[in-house]
Amino acid sequence: CCCGTAFAQQLTISGKVTGAEDNFALPGVSVIVKGTTTGVTTGADGMYQINVPNAEATLLFRFLGYAPKEVQVGNQNVINVQLNADNKQLQEVVVTALGIERSERSLGYATQQVEGENLTLTKEQNVIGSLAGKVAGVQITGSSGASMGGTQKIKIRGVNSLNGEDEPLIVVDGTPISNANFAESAGVDYGNLAQDINPEDVESINVLKGPAASALYGIRGQYGVIMITTKKGSRGQKNITVQLNSAVSVERVGNLMPYQNMYGGGSSQTWRTLANGEKYVDMQVDESWGPKMDGTMVRQIFSFYPQDPEYGKLTPFVPHPDNIKDYYETGYNINNGVTISGGNEGTNFRLSLNDTRIEGVEPNTWLDRNNLGLSLGTDIAKNLTATANLTYAYTNAQRPGQGSEDGSRYLGQWFQRSLDLKRLENYQYPDGTYLHWNLRRSYASSGTLSNFTPLYWNNPYFEAYENTSNDRRDRLFGNVGLSYTVLEGLKVSGFIRSDMYTQSIESRTAFGGKDLPRYYVGKFQNREFNYEFLGQYNKTFGDFSLNANVGANLFDRRYTYLSQNTEGGLTAEGFYNIDASIDRPTTNSYLLRKELRSMYAMASVGYKDTYFIDASIRNDRSSALPKNNNSYWYPSVSASMVFSELIGWTPLSFGKVRVSYAQAGSDLDVYSTSATYQVGTVYSGPQTVNTLYVPDVLNNPDIKPSFAHSYEAGLDLRFLNGRLGLDLTYYKQRNKNQIIELDVSGTSGYSSAIINAGLIENKGIEAVLSATPVQTENFSWNSVFNLSRNRNKIVELYPGVDVLTHGTAYYSSTYSYLNSYSGKAYGSLIGQAYQRDEATGKILLDSNNLPLYTSATHDFGTVLPDMTGGMQNTFNYKNFSLSAMIDYQVGGQFFSRSKMLAVRTGLDPLTVEMNDNGKNVRDPLSEGGGVKVEGISAETGAEVTAYVDPQRYYGVAARRIYEDWLYDASYVKLREARLGYTFSKSEMSWLPVKSANLAIIARNPLMIWQDAPKGLDPSELSTGSQAIGWYESGQLPTVRSYGINLNVTF
């Protein structure tokens, strides 16, 4: 709206904006008529021109890295302005341990903050997963999107615990919340519980990486802290803001393993025949070493089902190249959220609602989630403020299994390439019976089957639709608090913080499959309270500043579960209830109680806003520790100096050095200190005998908490008014006296003993480089690159023990291990390797020209990566904004049982390769076929070049020898991309809308490079509760997700 009189008085002002120090032109400075929305930006030459209504108008000049400046127009037509670089912009406030807000400038240790908007770029639902690649020194190991909410594992600064349990503490608005995981290493991956945080509620995440930052968490802070601050409404805002957020994504599997399409199911290329001469597919073999898929008319599995329309018929034996791909569906991810926030002088509030619905790429899998968030703050009296932050989350899901042969995961491991999955999709006949593909052979004489119970594998669709697993979780966490400002600078506050959830899990094994029908149901309830007091004092005395805090915390946890399993089958088909158990059901009930009492104090003294010294101390008493030895102290000190204040070198806008030392600890599991027995099977025969047995794990009455000693030094540099920044950190952390379940010789009577032992050391550097290479009126490019390199070493284990086994895998009489050895890095992969000739390194062959192998003691080296990091680029052009998030890993390795089995069972293209005779390796040896084997005969010592039947060769090399199936885990991945358009005011003037943004989003669109073969994803090695991914087997396929996202603010 405009009025003619005002228009007549309009003035045109022009001028140039330069930097005060160097007098260079500043492009891209925003020039606004104060109190209006009228504004322009300066051009490449720093020049601007703007219309103002009258001489009373004030121009406001703003530019990143400079102090804003206001100039009243008065009678000037040309206004040239010099802007002063603003070092105080580096006075950014960060939330540190216990929610204490500190100026970043004063911190003597590294923290790295990620803004909420960078966590929701592509609507990743798990806040832990959304940190991937964004924080130096933080490694996220994800799981496939097909798992729908699967585990996202986080490690800060390498492996710091010998038992691998070194996940950081997750704190939301000061409330520690559970990040527990109900998944096992195979089966359904229910995911880490931190995913109950609604990403849309997150204002920022600050990662406290080392004990110096987390020392105030004492016995809970050894492995760092993820401090999450949620969005709040603003005070003084007169009107209420309503935001709508909506995203729809389509999900497709990508990166499937390649399979051969020449030979079908069976164990021999010779056709099996029935008495009448009809050829048939060997349904009892779950491998693809069978005849060529050349269209021969044969009886396939469905022709053995009398109820099948093709009963008794011959059908062509042909390949189905997409049969595994066909199994997966298109998934959908629909996410809708609304937030209402606002406030007045004495109150602020924010209410958020979020609804997520996912249909998975695995058939018949889905997830629904609802989040409700409420944050309130109100002054209830002078100087007395009450706050509350509450989150409610409800999850209801039916998820697929993963891991070795779980559910449909056998598809890439044991399978007939000749199977038509589309034919199997209608897995139930009208008479209620089921179609399977893997049965015992028919009687050759009659060609009829007597037993339709599947042999090793169910029809995958039967698995998906009948053997389902469901989980539900209700969760409420948050806090209520009161704070009272006693006098200027002195504030006392009290909080009650709580995290409560009920997790239900049930699973069904249906009638008509290979397994006995079964029903399992479990209910897991956790209730954690923290009662907290905090006194804070802030005061400046001349050149000195003081920030002092004292506090106390009482932690109280009660966790119970009750789970039941039917035994011996179910009494009624389709009735899934414990009541249907034929034998006495197995029942487990469990109670855990734990308390922790803590007191702490922290003081920071600053001098001239340039020199800072911090010290903190915490005392913890844990009920899980032996009664007479349950109190421990955790100190920290740090110092920093803003040296740029002293040297006054213009291009260096800010420079700080920092050093710190700290101790933090970690607690132990409850009930680890006293001996107990375990309840054994009840013998109910002629007499009933109740049995008890001695547990395999030896508890320890003298156990102590584990300690971390951490040393850290860092340098924080910003140049050219913040256009370029570099943050460097060096750290060394020694984790002593680890509480480990040491594997001991079983001949001692125990499998493992809980002991304090070991010293594990991590050293590393972290670098964060941020830059704004281009900034003009219409275009800007911001880039943040981070890199971290960690070196891990097990300095010592236990006296007399130099190896610790973390994981054991056993398959087909062959063991493999994840071990740690003193003097080496954590997590060596151990397995059987080729026996090699010492002189030449060539492999040794037996008399059948099959490779010989070592015992399962060969050390293939550590699984830990050398380097991890990420890069985020944001380009803004006018109203468009493009963001791309890349993360990478250098080094690390894993063993792939999926790949090994695909080769062993004849699924992999390797098994139909051409050899150097130009023949298929499956062709008869007499015709030049066979796998070419070169080596040295172990018996004669002679060099051998031979051709060996592939089935026999891979029966050894892809079953007993792990060497060929170990892969480097390096990768570079485009994890997130977002192209958004912000509608300008003028485009929306007809709408009651303040702002709107429409974006195309892509999650996980591209693996730019990986060293491991196609079909394996080294960035998704997380398998449920497994602390470290080393043994890939039955990994869910990678999911690529593309969608649109609309944000509207009213």
Partner: protein
Amino acid sequence: CDDFDEDINVNPNRPSDATAMQLIGNSQLSLPGLSSSPNGEFLAQYLSETQYVNASLYPVTSTSFYSLYQGPLMNLEYVLTRPELVKEKDGPAANQLAVAKIMKAYYFWHITDRWGDVPFAEALQGTENLTPKYDTQEAIYNAMFALLKEANSQIVAGSISGDIMYNGDMEKWRKLANTLRMLMALRLSEVNAAKAQEEFNQALSAGIMASNADNFIFKHQANADNQNYWYGQIDPNGLGREWWALSQTLVENMKPYNDPRLPVYGNPTRATGEYVGLPSGETKDMDTEKYSLLGNAIWKQDAPVYLVTYAEALFAKAEAAKRGWISGGETEAEANYTMAIRQSMAQWVGNAAAADAFLMEPGIAYTPANGLEQIATQRWVHLFMHGYEAWAEWRRTGYPDNLIAPNGVNVPTRQIYVETEKFNNTENYNEAVQRQFGGDDGLYGKLWWDK
């Protein structure tokens, strides 16, 4: 900040106390596992694999004995070293301890005969000794004789409660102790005949089993918790595995003599209704309808597991007579041999009615010239499905002499130590392997008694 609740760190999920008989009862639950093992059946060549042929080809892999130490033996060690656990309400303390000793000796016998030297004296000490030394097999045999002797002499009147095996009947335990001692003594026939004869006779005079009612049998039950291992594997409603056929070796030793036990041991083939054995290690043409699969009576849910039997004791006596350790010569040998076969028939078939005809069969009827071989071969037929024991007797006697080398691989003469001993008990492991086998922990090392 006072102390925490008194009981906050007391585990409410597990019992803090146990009684000796509860621990002994649990140790007894592991007994069928000494017999019900496919690997044991392959080593004795009772069964052949019809599919995924692997274990019956004797692959070079280690086998763990940890679960025997951590499980039953540790429970028994608690009973023997913690007097407070032994409650008089369950019967005389001396009897409870005697049972623990007998079972300890029995488990160690099984272990040492599979692997050779193993930790004994320093074993089962928990944190007191996490790396126990390996004792020689000779020392372990001496210790086992001592344990059984002690048990025999300490048994007093009065039964014990919570005993799965003999329902508290201490006379049966006494007979078991002496029978075990006698069978162990026989095992030393080739390495130290004098010692063997002495222990054998002492055991015999202390009183051994006198009928099949004294048999040491684990009675499985028709419920999921107490069922026969083979039922879970084979029952069509369970895993439904048709993985095991009678071996050709076994059928060759039974079918020509119309052995009445054959229809119990195996089923006729579905293809022809005949009894056909599958050669061990055969990998081609293994249609399950062409071979005799494991007999229904053997894998039924509540089929018993025969661990130590009267017939076995009689075979031992027959051999001792033949060797001249006990008096009576060939007459005594023959009497015990025929009696053993009758008892075996009664055990497996339910009656000895067909025994007379069987005992007339040429080759079965006792002939002094072939006496040792006949005794050993018939013992092997009798020990069906108790593979580890039969395999030990095969190693000692060399009978039956028609075991084959599947795919050219000979029947092993021991099992390889559990691989993790190399990590967890390195020095003692290396010492034991060096001492016995010159450093090669393989399948073909010879045990001390295996000469």
